[in-house]
Symmetry: C2
Subunit: 213 residues, 2 copies
């Protein structure tokens, strides 16, 4: 029973009720930051008892871990089957990827969870940090890697180290926007610049790694 629960928490085997509780917890976190993420507050917001929280998630850290896993499980990245890939469609796919990346990073839940994990990075041995890294970046990184690999196979891209190419793409897209948003810069005002920024970044990336010239 307990073992099943623990394993379930790591994956997605959560009761609807528990999912609803995590939803409320995420909402609290987004609205009020880590300070607002108290067990009493969650219990009040979710109309459940503190005792249930501890029974389901063990302790506060377990609850936070469950929040991260829960949120990650909601964002599934679909692999684009790009069989027919020409210069135009590659560019379009890259631009879409860039916009998606910026949108994800600017999402308030993403920002709140990243802030939480960063704030706890010094205390908990970066356990949450690794979790976010694995569940979040890894997913979108795979999507990008697949896209880049497809581009190379189609003779549209040229690079030796895929990781290096992805690093350049990521940096060109995100620059220091993520940090600025994490530090509190209002994300709403920035969003309208995402489209232009994505186009610029992809153009630069193709100038660097594209074979067409």
């Amino acid at each position: 029973m307990t073992a099943a629960m623990r394993e379930a928490n790591a994956g997605e085997g959560l009761t609807e009720r528990q999912g609803a509780v995590l939803e409320q917890a995420l909402r609290l976190l987004v609205d009020g930051g880590e300070k607002a993420l108290t067990t009493a507050g969650i219990a009040r917001a979710a109309n459940c008892s503190k005792e249930s929280l501890y029974k389901w998630f063990g302790d506060r850290d377990g609850l936070i871990s469950a929040m991260i896993g829960f949120q990650a499980s909601k964002v599934r990245t679909q692999d684009v089957a790009a069989r027919t890939l020409d210069a135009g469609s590659l560019r379009s796919h890259l631009v879409t990827f860039a916009k998606d990346l910026l949108e994800v990073l600017a999402g308030d839940v993403s920002l709140a969870l990243n802030r939480l994990a960063i704030g706890q990075a010094s205390r908990d041995g970066s356990k949450l940090g690794h979790m976010l890294q694995e569940r979040g970046r890894r997913q979108i990184g795979r999507r990008a890697a697949a896209l880049l690999e497809a581009g190379r196979k189609a003779g549209l891209l040229s690079f030796d180290d895929a990781e290096e190419a992805y690093g350049a793409l990521y940096g060109l897209i995100v620059s220091d926007w993520h940090l600025k948003m994490l530090l509190g810069e209002e994300a709403g005002e920035m969003r309208q610049g995402f489209g232009r920024k994505a186009e610029q970044a992809v153009s630069a990336f193709l100038a660097l790694y594209g074979t067409k010239r």
Copy 2:
């Protein structure tokens, strides 16, 4: 008057004693994260009384703000007078800038302060975030802007929007390393890759914005 005249430490109106206290506070923050940054802990580490802390800095937020200002005042960026600028020296200056930037961002005090400001971004209306942005990034941004402008004046670089070019340079250099370090990735292991990464980033930047071909 003597108190006020006592050399204002690095432009701030701080006594040496107060600077020493802030030094200890920064050390506490670096070692133990925000949780370790308690008024009692600071008083103990700095051999001063809590009453003095409140007299000097008002409250905990004032103390944290003073810590940021104090740390920023210690990092002065020297403008490189690049009168004779050729392709080689521009590249060398850019590589040096890139390495410096990575070293600064990987510094444990910088990481700790950024973590602190990010953790408080939701509670205090990003006051600390703006402070860090203004005192930290602005400085190194100006250095980069001067370098880019000099390169353009010398006919070695070509760009319309300096801010856009700087964004590309920053992104190519930093990529997602800063976030990874903020999330707890051990910075020590990464440092040895800084040199190579700086070279790669500058090469890519020059391929994008350099006039020499």
